[in-house]
């Protein structure tokens, strides 16, 4: 075993040096990293370990790593005027906060093409990175797009870039179900929901221009209530998103749904989005138990009327209200081959299941084959909440919010309760 361990650093360097990721001479190979004895409190599959990379103390939303292994963390609320933290890796596989900038909140963070992209609830900024992965001018970002539509719900503007110079931005619907009176019992849906004109979808922008407004972009997909987790699947050349499904079926329509049904429905859906896709919000929701799109009660449904042929079906469906806040297609080779090109999903955890027990606070894995989900999803990293009782009550110690892949194929997870940054590594049997 020890002779094998001596070979591993060299092997890891070779594996890490893929087409877009230069090797990191200073970083120890994953197999030599000392995971925390308690795996950072997480429950993982056999062969995996976890480290607490850093405790930032901020509301850490999404995060992104540069090819050099620097970590940028977006905070929902600036800490001491810093809404983006820079963490620099240390020899033991952990990282230390080395600075910060960007005095705005928000969720989005993505590294691509020599830039760090970050979003507030209103705009997408980008910062040029130097050869070491550091931001050249932290006080002077370019504004890629500003004035994004924002209401009082679903304001976060998650982002991702493809390989063809496009930026995709979630513009969440500022409503639960497009009712005339939001979240009020029995209030009907507004016909031809006007929210969809400028929200409730994914907007696409060119990265060749700056200072754009929302109307300079294209509404790439519509009928999506709120997408906090999205990723570009490079292997399939397609945009995938996770939707936060609507709330309060029982509260608003007790004649059609009891507490249990309302806790489980609707599904949190994974969608594969071609340009022009329409996922159907607010007119339908997806019932994963029936395997059907159902007419929403706001638009005349009663929990029993199915709809077909009009809207996009999900690629995969997950239990209700778990709040998918990040989606990541794994392209590394550190993890076993079955994880390659599959989807990790960070479920932030529910509130709307009450009075039933809450659920989520875990990272799930959905296997993919040939660009499509294949087989049932699995729980990959669990116990972010800290205990079964904390999961059930919804009073979680940590709530996974962001996912990112390191240059060596480690999986990084951020927590927006305490700002813990986790690193999950594969260390063999």
């Amino acid at each position: 075993m020890r002779s094998l361990l001596l070979l591993l650093p060299a092997a890891a360097l070779l594996l890490a040096g893929g087409p877009r990721r230069p090797a990191l001479p200073a970083a120890p190979a994953a197999a030599r990293l000392a995971a925390d004895p308690d795996n950072a409190g997480l429950k993982l599959p056999v062969g995996f370990g976890a480290l607490r990379v850093a405790e930032t103390g901020g509301k850490a939303r999404h995060l992104a790593l540069t090819p050099q292994g620097l970590i940028y963390v977006k905070l929902n609320k600036p800490l001491n005027g810093k809404g983006i933290l820079l963490l620099k890796p240390q020899a033991n596989g952990r990282a230390a906060v080395a600075g910060g900038f960007g005095n705005y909140g928000g969720t989005g963070a993505y590294v691509k093409g020599g830039y760090l992209y970050a979003s507030s609830d209103h705009a997408v900024y980008r910062y040029a990175l130097d050869g070491k992965g550091e931001v050249r001018q932290p006080a002077q970002p370019e504004i890629v797009v500003r004035g994004l539509k924002t209401g009082q719900e679903h304001e976060s503007k998650s982002i991702v870039l493809d390989d063809a110079g496009h930026l995709y931005v979630n513009v969440g619907a500022y409503s639960n179900a497009c009712q005339e009176r939001d979240r009020e019992r029995g209030s009907k849906g507004v016909s031809n929901c006007p929210i969809l004109d400028s929200a409730g979808g994914i907007w696409q922008f060119s990265t060749a221009k700056i200072n754009q407004r929302q109307q300079d972009g294209t509404r790439y997909a519509t009928g999506l209530r709120n997408v906090v987790g999205l990723d570009w699947n490079a292997a399939a050349s397609q945009l995938f998103v996770m939707q936060h499904g609507r709330d309060q079926l029982h509260d608003n329509w007790p004649q059609f749904y009891n507490d249990q049904e309302s806790a489980q429905l609707p599904a949190e859906c994974l969608y594969a989005l071609p340009q022009g896709a329409n996922a159907g919000w607010p007119y339908i929701y997806y019932d994963q138990q029936k395997g059907q799109q159902m007419l929403a009660p706001e638009y005349g449904g009663d929990g029993k009327q199915a709809v077909s042929g009009k809207y996009l079906n999900p690629a995969a469906a997950f239990p209700g209200h778990m709040a998918p806040n990040a989606l990541l297609f794994y392209t590394g080779t550190q993890f076993p081959a079955r994880y390659r090109n599959g989807a990790f999903i960070a479920f932030h955890g529910s509130w709307n299941r009450a009075p039933e027990p809450q659920a989520g606070y875990l990272v799930a894995f959905q296997p993919f084959v040939n660009g499509k989900p294949s087989g049932k999803w699995e729980v990959f990293a669990d116990n972010f909440a800290g205990s079964a009782a904390k999961t059930a009550s919804g009073r979680a110690d940590h709530r996974p919010c962001g996912l990112a892949q390191g240059p060596d194929g480690s999986l990084y997870v951020s927590d927006d309760v305490k700002g813990t940054i986790y690193r999950i590594v594969y260390q063999g049997k």
Partner: protein, 148 residues
């Protein structure tokens, strides 16, 4: 029982972590409310809370971060009753701040509740989750409902 109708200023004595930021005058009088409120009132209020309020404000009254505010020793709950009644009857569309944290999700109106149900649930909330405050009466709810 007139002391029950005085605006209660107990929020100034609340735990710092949950006190509303608006300044309030201190009150020395602490009405003995728990002995005066019938158990049946609190029981009815608990049922309304479970059926109407619990989904958003949660079983422990702590609410949901960023979305739905806590009900624990805040100025909104322990303060002037007409304002609290108004929130239940008409909703609260705008964001509110409690102890430096913002809660943005709009609260819908619950005008379909009867005056008795509103009185019971607010009496319950003002005496649950560690809160101690005077009961809310049907007459007070009727007055707020009629005012607009």
């Amino acid at each position: 029982m007139k002391f029950l109708l005085l605006p209660l200023l107990l929020s100034s004595l609340a735990l710092p972590s949950l006190a509303q930021t608006r300044p309030k005058a201190k009150s020395k009088a602490k009405p003995k409310t728990t002995a005066a409120i019938p158990a049946a009132t609190l029981a009815r209020g608990a049922v309304v809370y479970k059926n109407v309020c619990l989904t958003c404000h949660q079983a422990d009254g702590y609410g949901v971060p960023n979305l739905n505010p806590p009900l624990i020793k805040t100025g909104y709950v322990l303060g002037p009753k007409p304002r609290l009644i108004g929130i239940v009857l008409r909703g609260l569309p705008g964001p509110i701040e409690i102890n430096g944290d913002e809660y943005k999700q709009p609260m819908p109106a619950q005008a379909y509740l009867t005056d008795a149900q509103v009185a019971d649930v607010l009496t319950y909330v003002r005496n649950a989750f560690g809160n101690r405050a005077g009961a809310v009466g049907e007459v007070e709810v009727k007055a707020v409902r009629a005012a607009k």
